[in-house]
C-alpha cells in the first residue's frame, strides 16, 4: 500500500461517490453516468474540468442517485488507472483481507 512506482503520471483526478440506494462505490463516467469500475471513470487532467464535473456530480447527489461525491487523485500507467491513496485503492477493489468480496470479486453491491 505504498505510493505508486515512479513514472506514473500524476495530477489526475476522478470523481467518486457511493450509490444512495445500495451504498455501492461508483465513479463519474462519460455522459455523467455512474460506473461501477474505476476503469470506466472520466479522468480529469485539468483542475477546472474536474471542478465543473464535480458540480454536475453534486447535482446527481441532490437528485438522490449518489451520496457525497468528491474528487480523488489517481495515477495512470500500464493502460490502467488506479487511486493514489490507499483508502481509495481499497474502495476501488474491496477489502484487502477478503479477495472474495467487493469489486475485486466481481460483486456489485
Amino acid at each position: 500500500m505504498a505510493r505508486p512506482a515512479e513514472g506514473f503520471a500524476e495530477g489526475l483526478r476522478v470523481i467518486t461517490a457511493n450509490r444512495l440506494d445500495s451504498g455501492a462505490v461508483v465513479w463519474f463516467g462519460p455522459g455523467d453516468s455512474w460506473a461501477h469500475r474505476i476503469a470506466a471513470a472520466t479522468i480529469f487532467e485539468r483542475a477546472e474540468e474536474a471542478e465543473a464535473a464535480l458540480e454536475r456530480a453534486k447535482a446527481a447527489a441532490a437528485a438522490g442517485v449518489v451520496v457525497e461525491p468528491y474528487l480523488i487523485e489517481v495515477v495512470r500507467g500500464d493502460d490502467r488507472v488506479r487511486p493514489l491513496r490507499p483508502r481509495e485503492l481499497i474502495r476501488s477493489l474491496g477489502p484487502s483481507v477478503r479477495a472474495d468480496l467487493g469489486i475485486q470479486a466481481g460483486q456489485q453491491q
Binding site: 500500500m1 444512495l20 440506494d21 451504498g23 451520496v67 490507499p86 481499497i90
Partner: protein, 565 residues
C-alpha cells in the same frame, strides 16, 4: 422500557421485552421505513437524513452501508444469535463482525434493505438504536457477569437499569459527543473501565448493601485519559440521580465548538476533577429525590431477569476433564486459556476465540454463529456473551461437558486456544472497511497471529494483549494494549507507531511509544523482537506487562531499535 414480563425469548440471564417494548420497536421500524422512503424519493436531503440513519446505527462506510446492531451489555440469546446469522446470510455476505463495544456490525448493507433488517431484528427484541450519534451508547460490562468466581455484585442488573434509563433519554439525545458507560461487579476489571466516559464499579459497602464507585473522564482517541475517581460508595438508590447529574453537567459544559475536545474527558481535564465534582454534587443534591430514586423493588424486579439458570449440584473437581487433559495436549491448552472458573461448583465459563491464526479478529460466519447458538442451547442454557475483546463466551458450561464442547467447537473452526495470548488480538476494521481509518489493521493482526501461530510458543509466551487501531480514534484500544499498534497515513503511506506497557484492567495504564514509527512490513518483526526481549529478560511468573513495568520502555527500545533510537 420498564414494564417487566416474560416474552417469547425468555431464556436464562436476559432481560425480556414486554408488549410495550415490542410496540415501541415496531413503531420505530415503521418510522425509519418511512424515513428511508422519503430519502429515496428525494424528499429528504442527505444532510437531513444522515442524523436519522445514524440514530438507527446506519453508517456509510468505504464499500457500502454498515449497520451496527446493539447487543446490550454483550448478552445474547441463542435465538438472537441465530437471527443475526440469518440476517448476515440474507442481507450481507454471510458474516458479521463483533466489536470492542460488544456489538455486531454488518459491513455490506443496502439502504433499501435496512427497514426489513430492523424488522427482523425486532422479531428477536433487538435493534440498532443508540449505536451511533452523540448519545449514551451501549452499556458494556464483564463478559463473565453472573458467573465469575470473583464477582461481588452482578453488573448486568445495573447495566440493564442504565440501559432503560439512557434509552431515548430526551435530555441526552444530542450530547456534545458520544458517551460510553461500562460497569463491573468484580475486583478484577474485565470491562476496561478506565477508558470509558463513566465507569461504575459495583461493590458491597460496609453495611453489606450494594454501592458504586463512579469514575469519569476516561477515553482514548487523540487525547487519551484514564478515568478519575469521582464518587466513592454511592448508594444503590442514588445511581440514576447521580448519573443524571453527571450527564447534565457534561451536557451543559461540554465543548460543542471542537469535535476533538467534546468528550467529557476534556471537560475533566480542563475544569479539573475537584471543580467538576463540586458542580456534579450540587446538581445531584438538587435533583436527588423521589423522581430519580432507584427503588429497591425495581432493582429486585430487574434482578429477577438475571436469576441464575437451573444449575445442577455437582462436584467441582471432574476427573474426566483431568483425564482428557492428560491425554490430549490441545484440549489441555484450551482448558488452560479459554476456560475460567465459575462461581457454581462443577461449572466453568468458556471463551470461544474468534481469533484463529491468520483469521480476521471478531469475524464470524453465519454458519459459525448458528453453530454457537446451537452449542449455547446444548451447553449453556441458551445464553451467550460478546466480549469487548471480540470473542464469544458461553458463561455456564458443566465442567464434565468441556471436552464434548471443545470437540464440537473444533468442527466449526472455533476451538482456538489463545484467549489472552498473543494471537488474541483486538483489531478495529481499519482501512479495509472504515471510512475514518488511515491505515489497515486487520491484515497486520493476521500476519502477527500467523507468525505466532504455534500454540506451544503462544503458551510459552503467556498473557500478552496486542491491541491495534487503524486511526487515532482508537476503536482497537491500542493505548491500553500490552503492545499497542496505531496505524497512521504518512504522506500516503501506511505507517505504524508501536507502544508498550498499556493495560485495560484494574491497573490501567497508557502505553508509551517504544520507538520510531515503522512501515507496514516491519511491524511484525518489531513485535517479534519485543517478545524475544521479554523471553530473555522475564523472571519467574512475570507476564510481558510485568517485565515492561520492571525494566522500563527504554530497555525494550534499545533492544528493538538499537541504542541510538
Amino acid at each position: 422500557m420498564t414494564h417487566l414480563q416474560a416474552g417469547p425469548y425468555h431464556q436464562a440471564g436476559q432481560y425480556h421485552y414486554d408488549e410495550i417494548d415490542r410496540r415501541f420497536l415496531a413503531e420505530r421500524v415503521e418510522q425509519f421505513r418511512r424515513q428511508v422512503e422519503r430519502r429515496i424519493s428525494g424528499e429528504l436531503t442527505e444532510a437531513e437524513f444522515r442524523p436519522l440513519r445514524l440514530m438507527n446505527g446506519l453508517y456509510l462506510q468505504l464499500h457500502a452501508y454498515m449497520l451496527r446492531v446493539a447487543v446490550p451489555y454483550g448478552v445474547l440469546s441463542s435465538a438472537q444469535l441465530r437471527q443475526l446469522a440469518a440476517i448476515g446470510r440474507k442481507y450481507d455476505r454471510g458474516y458479521g463482525h463483533f466489536t470492542t463495544r460488544q456489538n455486531l456490525q454488518f459491513n455490506w448493507i443496502k439502504l433499501v434493505d435496512v427497514p426489513a433488517i430492523l424488522d427482523d431484528l425486532a422479531k428477536v427484541d433487538m435493534h440498532a438504536i443508540q449505536t451511533s450519534g452523540n448519545c449514551i451508547r451501549n452499556v458494556t460490562t464483564d463478559q463473565f457477569a453472573g458467573a465469575a468466581e470473583d464477582e461481588v455484585v452482578d453488573p448486568r442488573v445495573y447495566a440493564e437499569i442504565m440501559r432503560q434509563w439512557s434509552t431515548l433519554h430526551p435530555e441526552f439525545t444530542f450530547l456534545p459527543r458520544k458517551f460510553k458507560i461500562a460497569i463491573t461487579g468484580s475486583p478484577h476489571d474485565r470491562a476496561a473501565l478506565a477508558i470509558h466516559d463513566v465507569a461504575v464499579r459495583a461493590r458491597r459497602l460496609a453495611d453489606g448493601a450494594v454501592g458504586f464507585d463512579i469514575y469519569v473522564g476516561g477515553g482514548l482517541g487523540r487525547s487519551p485519559f484514564l478515568a478519575k475517581l469521582l464518587r466513592e460508595g454511592l448508594p444503590e438508590a442514588d445511581l440514576l440521580a447521580y448519573l443524571e447529574a453527571v450527564l447534565r453537567i457534561y451536557n451543559q459544559y461540554g465543548r460543542r465548538d471542537n469535535i476533538y475536545k467534546a468528550r467529557i474527558k476534556i471537560l475533566v481535564h480542563e475544569v479539573g476533577i475537584d471543580k467538576l465534582r463540586q458542580q456534579i454534587d450540587a446538581e445531584f443534591e438538587r435533583i436527588r429525590g423521589p423522581k430519580y430514586r432507584l427503588e429497591s423493588a425495581i432493582v429486585d424486579a430487574i434482578r429477577a431477569h438475571f436469576a441464575p439458570p437451573p444449575f445442577e449440584v455437582l462436584p467441582d473437581e471432574v476427573p474426566s476433564v483431568v483425564v482428557a487433559m492428560t491425554g490430549d495436549a490441545a484440549f489441555a491448552r484450551w482448558v488452560q486459556t479459554n476456560v475460567v472458573r465459575h462461581r457454581q461448583p462443577g461449572y466453568a465459563s468458556v471463551t470461544i476465540s474468534l481469533k484463529p491464526a491468520g483469521g480476521i479478529p471478531g469475524d464470524a460466519t453465519s454458519e459459525q454463529m448458528e453453530a454457537v447458538a446451537d452449542l449455547a442451547e446444548r451447553f449453556s442454557f441458551g445464553e451467550l456473551r460478546v466480549s469487548h475483546e471480540q470473542n464469544l463466551v458461553l458463561a455456564h458450561v458443566r465442567r464434565d461437558a468441556l471436552h464434548a464442547l471443545w470437540t464440537e467447537l473444533g468442527k466449526h473452526g472455533l476451538e482456538t486456544a489463545n484467549a489472552g495470548l498473543i494471537g488474541d488480538i483486538i483489531a478495529c476494521p481499519g482501512l479495509d472497511y472504515c471510512a475514518l481509518a488511515n491505515a489497515r489493521s486487520i491484515p497486520l493482526a493476521q500476519q502477527i497471529s500467523e507468525r505466532f501461530a504455534d500454540p506451544e510458543r503462544q503458551h510459552l509466551i503467556g498473557e500478552l494483549k496486542i491491541k491495534m487501531s487503524g486511526c487515532i480514534n482508537a476503536c482497537g484500544h491500542h493505548h491500553v494494549g500490552h503492545i499497542g499498534v496505531l496505524g497512521v497515513d504518512k504522506h500516503g503511506v501506511e505507517t505504524y507507531q508501536i507502544t508498550i506497557g498499556g493495560s485495560a484492567d484494574e491497573k490501567a495504564a497508557l502505553g508509551a511509544v517504544v520507538g520510531p514509527a515503522v512501515g507496514y512490513d516491519e511491524v511484525t518483526d518489531k513485535i517479534e523482537r519485543l517478545v524475544a526481549a521479554y523471553l530473555d529478560w522475564r523472571l519467574e511468573g512475570e507476564r510481558f506487562i510485568d517485565t515492561v513495568a520492571r525494566l522500563g520502555v527504554k530497555a525494550f527500545r534499545e533492544r528493538v531499535y538499537g541504542p541510538a533510537a
